[in-house]
């Protein structure tokens, strides 16, 4: 926990194990791998190898959307599991896994099958990678496994890394089509919750920017296979996906930039940054026109809503990027973010990438393979042109491969908290008496018991999209709905008026 001072370099403790018995909102490695990173890809058939719960709980809970073309497969609505029984635990589950893969192949003829290991599997020693190799041979399609057992890491974050590694190893670069457009980009770390990616895609299309692949909102395994033909990688959620961006730069020379499409001004800035990268007059003109048109629309709503909500106080504890990105939206409405933190981020997400060399490597980090990536030997694939472009742009002050983290943007004396637990949540609410709290479903009803509205920023409470300009408008209205309602007045929160019905209700736990 840190009292922020943007002027100074402060060190926060992050990505360390949660203490047993302390109720955390963090999930497991498997959740980060299967649920977050791979989950949104519609045409990889994903089999969870383990007992039933792990698979059931990851079944369609993140509200990722996808838009398959006519006749194209979409496995997102499915949850496949080997549903291990005790005989599999005692005698091993590889046979059952293979059978399940054959069956899935026969049923759906998918382009690829991914296998996810859960805790008991790691323990009994089933080798999912060997099974994947064998089945790849037998079925003639790409098969790959993930050793993403829940105990492997501190949080979901370990699973993101494992997912990045395996996609890089087994999918990326396995196809080499010709160019698909003049300005080719990949979008990394955008998961299309509530249709967020659709908003971005619409604007790209209008501007003439070709989205080669997305990791992984509204994505396909095919597009991931040729993602290396892109001219630029854009990173939204730094935490979950920076590994692929880094590895692609080393291997193919494709530079990456940090973008943010949450918040109208941020979206405008990001679009302009892309135009600046390509340095094409026509593209720049198109982007400028889009920004001007869309800003006019969103500004009108922003001003109307701002008049009603300005000066309110917000707190947010989400994920590995949203607790930062959404601050832009709150700033636009004049709402103060007094405290924020991530659930599963690392120090660089707070303090910026400059601290990466100083981050201590602990046992949990060592658990995850660091891929040794080398420059490709295929001269056709190595993008010397982009390397030169990057160098030239850097001269002009354009920043690549950088993320400043959340802390520099936050106000002096705001509170930054990593992996906030229940106890801290309660204390903070009592102290700050915020008007709105942003987190997920696990905190939702705790916070609302205090008479404070909670906005889910993991899955948006069935709302969204919130990206770009239309998304900003949606969010402005959502804040108006949440902050301007009368129902909280009925709740009679203790600090808002003298409680009338004390007595039986004020029993301290």
């Amino acid at each position: 926990m840190i009292i922020n001072d943007p002027e100074k370099d402060q060190e926060i403790q992050a990505n360390v194990r949660t203490v047993p018995g302390i109720i955390t909102q963090r999930g497991c490695t498997y959740a980060g791998c299967r649920g977050v990173v791979l989950g949104p890809t519609r045409d990889i058939l994903q089999i969870v190898h383990g007992p039933i719960g792990c698979s059931f709980y990851a079944w369609l809970t993140r509200r990722n959307q996808s838009a398959p073309a006519e006749g194209e497969g979409n496995f997102i609505p499915y949850s496949f599991s080997t549903d291990m029984q005790d005989e599999n635990i005692v005698f091993g589950g590889e046979v059952k896994l293979k059978e399940a893969m054959r069956e899935a192949f026969e049923m759906f003829s998918p382009k690829a099958i991914a296998i996810f290991s859960t805790c008991p599997v790691g323990l009994i020693g089933d080798d999912v990678h060997a099974v994947a190799r064998e089945m790849k041979e037998e079925l003639g399609i790409n098969c790959f496994g993930f050793s993403c057992e829940g105990y492997r890491g501190v949080s979901q974050s370990a699973g993101h890394h494992i997912a990045n590694n395996q996609i890089f190893k087994h999918v990326l670069g396995t196809d080499n089509p010709t160019r698909k457009g003049k300005f080719q980009v990949n979008l990394l770390g955008e998961y299309n919750i509530g249709g967020d990616a659709f908003e971005i895609e619409r604007l790209f299309e209008e501007a003439g920017i070709t989205l080669i692949s997305s990791f992984s909102g509204n994505s396909t395994v095919e597009s991931m296979a040729y993602a290396h033909i892109a001219d630029l990688n854009m990173v939204m959620c730094h935490r979950s996906i920076n590994y692929i961006a880094e590895m692609m730069e080393v291997k193919y020379g494709i530079p990456w930039i940090k973008v943010n499409f949450v918040g109208a001004k941020s979206a405008a800035k990001s679009l302009k940054k892309i135009a600046e990268y390509f340095g094409d007059a026509e593209l720049t003109a198109k982007v400028d026109a889009i920004v001007e048109r869309e800003m006019a629309k969103s500004e009108a709503v922003r001003e109307a809503v701002k008049a009603k909500v300005e000066g309110k106080v917000a707190m947010m504890f989400v994920g590995g990027s949203r607790a930062h990105h959404y601050q832009d939206l709150f700033e636009e409405l004049g709402i103060h973010v007094v405290s924020a933190g991530y659930e599963f981020a690392h120090r660089d997400d707070y303090e910026g990438r400059k601290v990466i060399p100083d981050i201590k490597i602990d046992a949990d980090t060592r658990n995850i393979e660091e891929l040794e990536v080398e420059k490709t030997e295929d001269a056709e694939l190595w993008r010397e042109d982009l390397v030169a472009k990057k160098a030239a742009l850097e001269e002009t002050g354009y920043t690549f491969a950088d993320y400043e983290g959340m802390m520099p943007q936050m106000k002096k004396n705001s509170l930054v908290i990593d992996d906030i637990n229940h106890w801290e949540t309660e204390k903070l609410i009592e102290f700050y008496k915020p008007d709105v709290f942003c987190a997920g479903i696990k905190e939702k009803y705790v916070v609302q018991k205090f008479g404070i509205p909670l906005k889910q920023l993991h899955n948006y409470d069935a709302g969204g999209p919130y990206t770009c300009f239309e998304g900003a408008i949606n969010f402005y209205y959502e804040m108006q709905r949440m902050l301007d309602t009368k129902i909280w007045k009925l709740v009679d929160a203790p600090w808002k008026s003298e409680p009338e019905i004390v007595g039986s209700m004020t029993i301290e736990a």
Binding site: I52, C54, N367
Partner: protein, 469 residues
């Protein structure tokens, strides 16, 4: 959003479970433990299990659900989870000052063979704390049974841990099974109206369905106190809802676990507390059965209020049955729930064509035959079914109605079949935890809903917007 869900090419028996119609054992155990007063459950395993389970329960109950985890690391999986278990207990005591700490195991801790009972024994021996909470543990690997097996295992574990014998009293024990918080409240009103003293286990009617608070309560009020559970051994009788219970965890297993008797079975064997086992009281027939037993045990007559409720229910059957008579329904979910719902639907003239569950007891078919003597033979009753099998079956057989939790919504949507949401989990509606199923009053609600759902379907698909029936 999910257009183009692929069409399945074949319908043979499958190895993989595709969209399971069951959840995992520690989830059920956690719900049961939440029904003990002042209890904080700890799931012994990696933190993901606890987080996922909390998330699922929270989205159904729409309430804070605090469940701790012992947060296994890779090291713990190698050297055993004893140290993690200790730390978790100490921290839970420090933060919550609970009356009871309940440990439930996971696939992981069971696979490595952690002996939680021994950990607790040692913990108690070594602890410097004076007032230690009471402890209870349930063995709940999910590769042996579903969430229902976990639920009953936890209830049984609590009884074994706390119930004592002694001179017989006049109170009764009631084991309601996994029903809604509103069902639990209804049962309590009903028993009080009857003038019967009772111990209900579990009772999460308040702990998982709280009013808005003036001051935040780390441990919500309500639940059955340990002192009450202690008296279960001296009760005049037990009433246990459900006839399949945890038999799924016992069928054809390789690994011998401690999974065994239900709470009521144990009390009957150990303390000679007579057990009245019966299906969940849904529908007139099964609710009559329940009231008969209450009259028999207490020697009192059914309070007039319930007689009127019953009369009103049958009156509404007379008014509404023609809208649903002969309609074909699919019922799915937990085994005992499926048996009771099928019996009710059968009673009102809805033809249940498929009764399906992910549960593993192998007894579903027998129980359905026994409870629906006339049509039982024609009902396809399936254990170990998943939602994809239900979907394939529906594609072919075009039923008129789906009855069960919200997980089959995607089937309803794709095939345009109306769905009546009940049971667990309800994730796509508000108030799922408050759905009333039991007794004449619960049946009344369900009946109205079934009839109105059919009427609405007809209305929506009619070329004329009739607003009169």
């Amino acid at each position: 959003m999910f257009e183009n869900a692929p069409i399945i090419k074949s319908t043979k028996e499958f190895t993989a479970t595709r969209n399971a119609c069951k959840l995992c054992a520690p989830l059920g155990a956690s719900v049961a433990f939440k029904g003990i007063r002042g209890c904080v459950p700890i799931i012994h395993g990696s933190q993901g299990c606890a987080t996922y389970i909390r998330r699922y329960l929270i989205s159904h109950f729409k309430e804070p659900v605090d469940i701790a985890s012992s947060n296994f690391t890779e090291e713990a999986t190698v050297f055993g989870g004893g140290a993690n278990c200790d730390r978790a207990i100490t921290n839970v005591i420090g933060q919550y000052n609970p009356e009871v700490v309940a440990l439930t195991t996971t696939c992981l801790s069971e696979t490595i063979g952690d002996d939680v009972k021994m950990y607790i024994h040692d913990y108690k021996k070594n602890s410097e704390l004076k007032d230690l909470p009471a402890f209870v543990t349930a063995s709940t690997p999910s590769y042996q049974g579903s969430h229902m097996d976990g639920f009953h295992e936890a209830v049984g574990a609590a009884i074994k841990a706390f119930a004592k014998g002694g001179e017989k009293g006049t109170h009764i024990n009631i084991f309601p099974g996994f029903v809604s918080t509103e069902d639990l409240r209804q049962l309590k009103y009903l028993l009080s109206d009857f003038g019967i003293e009772f111990v209900m286990l579990p009772d999460y009617s308040e702990t998982l369905d709280n009013p808005i608070w003036n001051t935040y309560k780390r441990i919500p009020e309500g639940g059955t106190p340990v002192s009450a559970i202690e008296t279960c051994g001296r009760a005049a009788a037990s009433i246990e809802f459900g006839t399949i219970l945890n038999s799924g965890a016992l069928s054809g297993r390789v690994k011998n676990t401690k999974l065994s008797a239900t709470g009521a079975e144990y009390l009957e064997k150990e303390f000679e507390v007579k057990n009245y086992r019966m299906p969940l009281p849904i529908g007139v027939k099964n609710t009559d059965r329940f009231f008969n037993v209450l009259e028999e045990i207490s020697g009192k007559e059914m309070p007039i209020r319930y007689l009127t409720e019953r009369g009103r229910l049958i009156d509404s059957y007379a008014d509404g049955h023609k809208y649903i008579f002969g309609k074909k329904a699919v019922v799915y979910g937990e085994e005992d729930f499926v048996v009771a719902m099928t019996t009710f639907l059968d009673e009102i003239g809805v033809e249940v064509v498929l009764a399906a569950t992910g549960g593993e007891s192998g007894n579903l078919e027998d129980q359905i035959r026994a409870n629906c003597p006339e049509r039982g033979e024609q009902i396809l009753a399936k254990n170990m079914f998943d939602y994809e099998k239900i979907r394939e079956w529906c594609q072919e057989n075009k039923p008129d109605l789906l009855v069960g939790n919200s997980k089959a919504y995607y089937i309803a949507r794709e095939l345009d079949i109306p769905i009546v949401r009940c049971g667990f989990p309800i994730h796509d509606r508000i108030g799922g935890q408050r759905i009333k199923h039991l007794g004449y009053a619960g049946t009344q609600d369900l009946f109205d809903q079934v009839v109105n759902t059919m009427i609405q379907y007809k209305q929506d698909h009619s070329p004329v917007g009739y607003k009169y029936m």
